[in-house]
């Protein structure tokens, strides 16, 4: 035993450090689950027990009945789904053209797009709000954007600014670039349209990149708060879960039970996606470096 330890002490100590660190990282999530199934009286107990005592699902029942979590969850799903679809569709179209088609001003246009990647979202936030507010013919507006409220308080207002991001185009272009040019030529000679060449020859070859971009876009849209909170009126029917949870917290600052229940419901989807597509999550992190 002693001999074994002398030989492996380094491994044992690093293992211990890694396990303690893992426990610390999980601790808040453990308490999140613990509180979500604990009676309110027990939550307000000092010192609070560190283990599961009498388990109750009252908080979950309450947030489904009174906070209408299903409604907000549905909003989040719709918004996230649409943002993913538009980014993948139009992002890959543009990315393919920038990587594989030749036309005038191609590289110039791309350089301008690339420069805009350095611009932080805060700078465009205020004017983008005005664009949404003054959008012609939307929400009672006339041609000049006067008279109505544009896309304020609508799905469109939440989705449009992030519907086709430069990042998506830039990210996918890198992958299209790695595919040889002559692959498409055969199809072209057979008389396939440019769209067909794109959709049935090139697109299937960048599937891993599309999945990684889906993960990226999912995380951004699912967790978005600042923008939807600006676009929506307080208590809006179209609030995503983030906005609804924050609203609930503002109204009930110490209702920890329901708070944990909502935040758990919100986190389950990313957790499941992470389990299914872990590889792509890790890849998405590393690709941010390039």
């Amino acid at each position: 035993m002693k001999q074994w330890f002398m030989k492996h002490w380094r491994f044992v100590i690093t293992s211990l450090v890694l396990i303690v660190f893992a426990a610390l990282m999980i601790l808040p999530i453990y308490w999140q689950i613990l509180i979500s199934v604990r009676e309110t009286d027990a939550i307000n107990q000092v010192p609070a027990p560190w283990f599961f005592t009498e388990i109750t699902f009252d908080h979950f029942r309450r947030v489904f009945e009174r906070v209408r979590v299903m409604r907000y969850l549905w909003n989040t799903i719709v918004i996230t789904g649409l943002v993913i679809i538009t980014n993948l569709t139009f992002g890959s179209l543009a990315a393919y053209a920038f990587a594989k088609l030749r036309f005038r001003f191609r590289d110039g246009i791309f350089k301008v797009l690339l420069l805009s990647l350095m611009i932080p979202g805060v700078v465009t936030m205020l004017p983008a709000y005005l664009v949404i507010l003054r959008f012609p013919f939307a929400g009672g507006n006339n041609l000049f954007g006067q008279g109505g409220s544009g896309f304020l308080n609508s799905y469109a207002g939440i989705i449009l600014p992030g519907a086709i991001t430069v990042f998506s185009v830039f990210f996918l272009r890198q992958f299209f670039k790695t595919i040889p040019d002559d692959i498409g030529e055969a199809a072209r000679i057979d008389g396939a349209s440019e769209f067909r060449v794109f959709a049935s020859v090139y697109l299937p070859l960048v599937k891993p990149a599309l999945i990684t971009l889906t993960i990226f876009t999912f995380q951004g849209a699912w967790n978005a708060f600042l923008w939807p909170n600006i676009i929506l009126t307080p208590g809006s029917e179209r609030s995503p879960l983030t906005v609804a949870l924050q609203q609930f917290v503002a109204e009930n600052p110490v209702a920890y039970g329901p708070m944990m229940a909502i935040s758990l419901i919100m986190s389950i989807f990313p957790f499941i996606l992470f389990i299914i597509a872990q590889r792509y999550f890790m890849r998405s992190v590393v690709t941010t470096m390039r």
Binding site: A22, A94, P127, M260, I262
Partner: protein
């Protein structure tokens, strides 16, 4: 002439299709990025409250930001408190953990566990940490009580000016460590085996190996992580809105939170635009700096 014709025959429809393919992306770029930037710069020279037309006031907003109104500069000071805590901690902890995980069979399991907090939205995480920080019922003070700290000495976390920003930093650290461990793990894997083996043959201890070999070789990654974290911290918002609303006593007011309040709470769109233009310049400086440092080093 002849040459051009050959090229045209090879790809008859390329030209037109290209424009059609990029049209939606370029249109959205123009409407939601390019035009807004021009508008933001224009508005920064005006007084504008959404309901009336913008009125040109020249450099007045910029002058006020640096002379009359101390809050904007204060918000950068607040961010620097956050940066001073988060940046060194992120670099050191992620690097050491990545180093420890290297060549372990169970590395993947640990990395997944460390990544879990990053999956939560900041709003959900803030709800969780609102409980963690609760001075009476919260887990953090429970632990401090267990260690034997007296009730009157327990910290108030997000509810006291002296600890609020540090508390926000603690929560952010919890959320971003996993991502940075993944980044460092990839970098550590990229270190040539021969370098490490040579050092082992020369009898270098783990400590020596870490400080003399791993740490210097990971410098480009460290620069990347540092500048990314700093740039992110300038844009700190969600957790501020959710946990402290910039308080107590303005101790957690960040530039973006201030811009949001000016624009959408008091409807000083012009003033808020000027602040966002300044923030933009600060962030661009850091971005260019990071590109310089990361590229030149290797």
């Amino acid at each position: 002439m002849n040459h051009q014709n050959v090229a045209k025959m090879k790809r008859p429809k390329s030209n037109k299709a290209g424009y059609i393919f990029i049209a939606p992306a370029v249109l959205f770029f123009l409407v939601f990025t390019a035009i807004p930037i021009v508008v933001a710069v224009y508005l920064s020279f005006t007084r504008y409250g959404v309901f009336d037309a913008p009125r040109w006031i020249g450099l007045r907003n910029y002058i006020n930001i640096f002379t009359v109104d101390p809050v904007f500069l204060q918000s950068f000071r607040n961010v620097s408190v956050y940066v001073a805590i988060v940046v060194p901690s992120v670099v050191l902890i992620s690097m050491v953990v990545a180093f420890m995980l290297n060549n372990r069979k169970d590395a993947k399991v640990f990395r997944s566990i460390y990544y879990l907090p990053a999956l939560l939205s900041i709003i959900a995480a803030s709800a969780v940490w609102r409980f963690m920080f609760d001075p009476t019922y919260g887990t953090l003070n429970q632990i401090l009580r267990l260690i034997g700290m007296q009730s009157q000495n327990l910290p108030q976390w997000i509810y006291h000016p002296s600890t609020a920003m540090a508390s926000i930093a603690l929560m952010s650290l919890w959320m971003i460590l996993g991502i940075n461990i993944v980044i460092y793990s990839a970098a550590v894997r990229g270190i040539p085996k021969e370098v490490v083996e040579a050092a082992e043959i020369d009898g270098a201890s783990s400590m020596n190996m870490f400080w003399r070999i791993i740490f210097p070789l990971l410098r480009p990654t460290t620069f990347f992580v540092m500048t990314m974290t700093i740039i992110g911290s300038f844009q700190l918002y969600d957790q501020i809105y959710a946990l402290t609303s910039g308080g107590p006593a303005g101790s957690t007011t960040t530039p973006v939170f201030l811009i949001y309040m000016n624009a959408f709470d008091s409807f000083n769109m012009g003033y808020a635009s000027a602040q966002s233009v300044i923030l933009f310049i600060v962030i661009i400086v850091f971005t260019l700096l990071s590109q310089r440092l990361t590229r030149d080093d290797y």
